[in-house]
């Protein structure tokens, strides 16, 4: 068994022999019974036939290294013999390791842990059931929270409590509105270019390329401008709301606020909602302008339409109503995004994983709701004939 020069080999491979002496089974073990070799020993030990012996002697006195995993393997084997009704007549290990084995045997009396199965059909059905249940709970929770915050908000607006926090609102407007200008502007400019290019490409075939401007103007002002801005803001600010409030919850800051007598809805939630409801229409207006500029640039280079021509054609294509129909959606989207962001933030549990999970969920829910609402608006407008 190895040589003494090399530590790894000297304490090298563990071994054991099983020998039948009459009705007695002798198990002799040696080498190093350590965690590194446990996998091999485990399989071999399980293969021992525990049934056909009257009694057994376990001799581990040749073991030169033993750790708790190796010790457990010895003890488990002993327990397996006992469970099979075999008398264990002797159980010897070097004196050095006796206390370790005693403590394992003493403390470890209960059967091993059951690890839950994840891959059975029943488990799958259970997961589906739980997920459905959770979605329903979630929907009820959001509606309830919507009502709660709306009430508190109205109260704060009309009552003379004076607890509308103007500083916080202004700060949040800077965060969600002004700081979003570069990204929204750049993206909408590019989208304007893309729309104009695609429109021009198709309409050129009918010599109607001038109508590119109609398509771009109406599409951007009614739908694209507000929808894209809302989606960008949901990803940018909705997630930030969840993460900020969630982290504060993890740090017990929300609890601290309550004990000081601060109303969390007044201090954290309302400023964010009001700020976003104010900022998103402005952002949408800005996004519309940037998209039209992008479109105008593309029209100039692709179709040779000069800027004055573009403006004239745009004039005939869109009215103020076209623009307002798009803009009116902005506060509604803003309200939903902020509400979902704050609601999921309040749902964070006191662990780090929860913040990440709920931040993702908040963005997905906000984008989902924005698109659903946009579809709802389309139906509404078509019924109203706008």
């Amino acid at each position: 068994m190895g040589n003494a020069d090399d530590q790894d080999e000297a304490n090298g491979r563990p071994w054991f022999n099983v020998e039948h002496r009459g009705r007695t089974l002798c198990l002799t073990a040696g080498g190093s019974w350590i965690v590194r070799h446990a996998a091999m020993l485990d399989a071999q030990l399980r293969a021992i036939d525990t049934e056909h012996a009257a009694d057994v002697e376990i001799d581990g006195s040749n073991i030169d290294r033993l750790d708790s995993t190796g010790g457990w393997l010895l003890i488990r084997t002993k327990m397996a013999f006992e469970a099979a009704g075999t008398r264990v007549r002797a159980f010897a290990v070097p004196d050095l390791y006796a206390p370790l084995l005693a403590s394992i045997e003493h403390e470890h009396v209960t059967p091993p842990v059951k690890i839950q199965e994840h891959d059975t059909l029943a488990a799958f059905l259970e997961r589906v059931g739980w997920a459905t249940h959770n979605v329903l709970i979630q929907a009820v929770g959001i509606v309830g929270y919507l009502g709660h915050v709306t009430l508190e908000g109205l109260e704060a607006l009309i009552s003379p409590r004076g607890n509308l926090r103007v500083t916080a609102i202004v700060h949040q407007i800077e965060e969600v509105g002004i700081n979003a200008l570069p990204i929204v502007g750049l993206l909408m400019f590019l989208i304007g270019i893309v729309l104009a290019y695609q429109g021009a490409d198709q309409l050129k075939r009918f010599d109607l390329e001038i109508l590119t401007i109609n398509a771009l103007g109406v599409g951007t002002l009614r739908e694209i401008g507000v929808l894209f801005t809302a989606i960008i803001v949901a990803g940018r600010s909705g997630s930030a709301f969840t993460a900020q409030i969630g982290t504060m919850k993890v740090n017990e800051e929300l609890d601290a606020m309550q004990t000081i007598g601060l109303n969390v809805v007044d201090v954290l939630i309302l400023p964010r909602i009001i700020a976003l409801v104010i900022a998103l229409p402005f952002l949408t207006f800005y996004a519309d302008v940037m998209a039209l500029i992008g479109g105008a640039v593309m029209c100039y280079f692709d179709l040779g339409i000069t800027i004055p021509e573009f403006v004239r054609q745009l004039h005939t294509a869109v009215t103020v109503n076209t623009f307002l129909v798009g803009l009116i959606k902005a506060p509604v989207f803003a309200y939903v995004i902020a509400m979902v962001g704050c609601y999921e933030g309040m749902n964070v549990e006191r662990n780090a994983a929860s913040v990440g999970k709920l931040t993702t969920r908040s963005v997905v829910e906000a984008v989902f709701l924005v698109i659903v609402l946009d579809a709802g608006f389309s139906v509404l407008f078509s019924v109203l004939g706008i």
Binding site: S68, T69, S103, P112, V113
Partner: protein, 256 residues
């Protein structure tokens, strides 16, 4: 390889740490002997955890050498470092359990990574480690967020012990525990140290823990270490050390 029992498990020579221009450690030397429990004490912000982090390789000291098991951990390949890492276990302050996994799965992470054990053996080992650190069996299926602070630390210790390390690092093992849990944790560390023949490197604030577990104490004061037994350090004339051992808490814990 050839380690003798005389050789220290951890050997620091001239370790200097500067963070953001501020000097934390000024040429620290330290030997941790095999089989002892060495406790590092020092004021808040004195750099105890930084010292621990520089030994386990989470941080690179500005100067100096760090040897663990006689091997320079600052200059070794990833594979060599992994071989050394398998021989030590680290318990972080809050347990640092992976929050997406159950306690049993947490304990099995190192086993799954470094051994070829079957799932059933890993379950048995997880259960054994849990009972060794004094946690009830039903903890195995719980998630870290469902555990109390003390249980999280015990579970973290079970994970640190999964690969049967020779050396265990404990970062503030009793901070935030109630006195009874803290006492039990001290006994646990002492007991495991004896039965598994561990070397323990412990960062602590807790005078009771010091008294109950530590063989030697290293005081981190003025960016230097003073090492000795509690009895010897009590006679030291450094004002911080004097205040630490002879203040009201010190006298209470150590019996004046």
């Amino acid at each position: 390889m050839g380690e003798t029992s005389e050789e220290p498990v951890i050997r620091l020579r001239g370790v200097v740490n500067r963070i953001g221009g501020r000097s934390i450690h000024d040429h620290i030397d330290l030997d941790v002997r095999r089989g002892e429990i060495l406790a590092i004490v020092g004021g808040s912000g004195a750099g105890k955890s930084v010292l621990l982090r520089s030994i386990v390789g989470l941080m690179r000291p500005t100067e100096g050498s760090v040897e663990v098991f006689g091997r320079d951990v600052m200059h070794m390949s990833d594979a060599e470092l992994r071989a050394v890492q398998m021989r030590w276990g680290v318990l972080f302050q809050e347990g640092a359990l992976f929050s997406s996994q159950t306690v049993a799965e947490n304990i099995q992470v190192p086993l799954r990574e470094y051994t070829t054990m079957s799932q059933s053996l890993m379950n048995e080992v997880a259960a054994m480690k849990l009972s060794m650190v004094g946690l009830p069996e039903d903890t195995a299926q719980k998630r870290p967020s469902e555990l109390s602070g003390g249980m999280r630390k015990r579970a973290g210790l079970a994970r640190a012990l999964a690969l049967e390390p020779e050396l265990v690092f404990l970062d503030e093992p009793t901070a935030g525990l109630d006195p009874i849990s803290a006492n039990l944790f001290d006994e646990l560390v002492r007991g495991l140290q004896k039965s598994l023949n561990l070397t323990v490197f412990m960062v602590t604030h807790d005078l009771d823990t010091l008294k109950a577990t530590a063989d030697r104490v290293a005081v981190l004061v003025n960016q230097r270490l003073k090492v000795g037994t509690i009895e010897r350090l009590r006679d030291d004339d450094d004002p911080w050390i004097k205040e630490y051992f002879s203040g009201p808490r010190g006298r209470g814990a150590l019996g004046a």
